[in-house]
């Protein structure tokens, strides 16, 4: 049940990758990275390609993923899937205790926080660029939400997509509000 005695348990990102495998079945490291970019990125991280490979290797060593190696054109193509043990360990982790409070690394707000060093124009400029990026993200998420449809197999990812759309829309509203505060504080 617990990750083998003497082995460090997977990192949260490790568990997240196991979760992606549970959702989509067998896939390559490359494919997993693509999937992470469409999912995990919005609420966890977009792991680097090399990170995905090293993490998969660690999970394989721990017996949490199974690997099948095929030879195509003289090179090996690996495909990974969740092992039974992997599924047990993942479920145990999901059901277990403490969930960390979210961590936000928000450079836009850092710029606002240090506004006394620049005056209000710079935060306003940054906010403006941020607004554009937010609109882009909302579009991405809407497209993803659309593709998920009403298939009950993807109902949880669909909820997450909707959560994200809402979050970014609210960020947009905050941008407006902070913008007004900055303009008023200008003199």
């Amino acid at each position: 049940m617990l990750p083998m005695p003497g082995q460090a348990p997977p990192s949260v990102t490790g568990y997240a990758l196991l979760g992606l495998l549970s959702l989509r079945g067998e896939m390559s490291g490359y494919g997993l990275k693509q999937l992470a970019d469409r999912t995990l990125r919005f609420f966890w991280v977009a792991p680097a390609m090399s990170h995905v490979y090293s993490e998969l290797e660690r999970l394989r060593t721990a017996g949490l993923v199974a690997q099948t190696v095929a030879n195509r054109g003289g090179r090996r193509l690996r495909r990974y899937s969740l092992s039974e043990r992997g599924e047990r360990v993942l479920k145990a982790w999901l059901s277990a205790g403490q969930v960390e409070f979210p961590v936000l690394k928000h450079e836009v707000v850092l710029r606002l926080f240090l506004g006394h060093l620049t005056g209000p124009d710079r935060p306003l400029q940054v906010l403006d660029a941020y607004r554009l990026q937010l609109n882009g993200r909302i579009e991405e998420l809407r497209a993803i939400r659309g593709r998920l449809g009403t298939d009950p197999h993807f109902q949880y990812p669909a909820m997450v997509a909707e959560w994200g759309i809402r979050l970014y829309q609210e960020e947009l509203a905050s941008v407006e509000q902070v913008g007004s505060a900055l303009v008023e504080a200008d003199p």
Copy 2:
């Protein structure tokens, strides 16, 4: 203007610490950590004590902070302040180009995303605990906002506190909404 040729520029956390020094003037590493826990934590990170010390040492080597060493009871008490060069470098960074899109590491949403492995009860439970933590955070931020008052010197931190209160309140609303979706999807 640029951080010395041949020296790596500070990390964002390095700049953030410079910013805290610019806001409050001379202080100890210990004090800086306390301040970070009341400010940076909400939109960047809560750096570990040892990280604050190592970062200050790096900034000192780069000539961005000045250090004064006093002897009290046979041991050295160090106090740090922003150097002129530090202020120039910080302002240059604040005014410069690309601001990264915020990164969110949200374990609560990760649990929701993988709901197919647990069923809706576990995400509901997690959401419930999260609601409590959010209320706590909102209280903290309100207290901080209150202490900042209307002093124009702290008007930007005050805006950030207000932004945070709003963010967490919206998270609370999202928790309600996701909760309803989970209950409806239950069967």
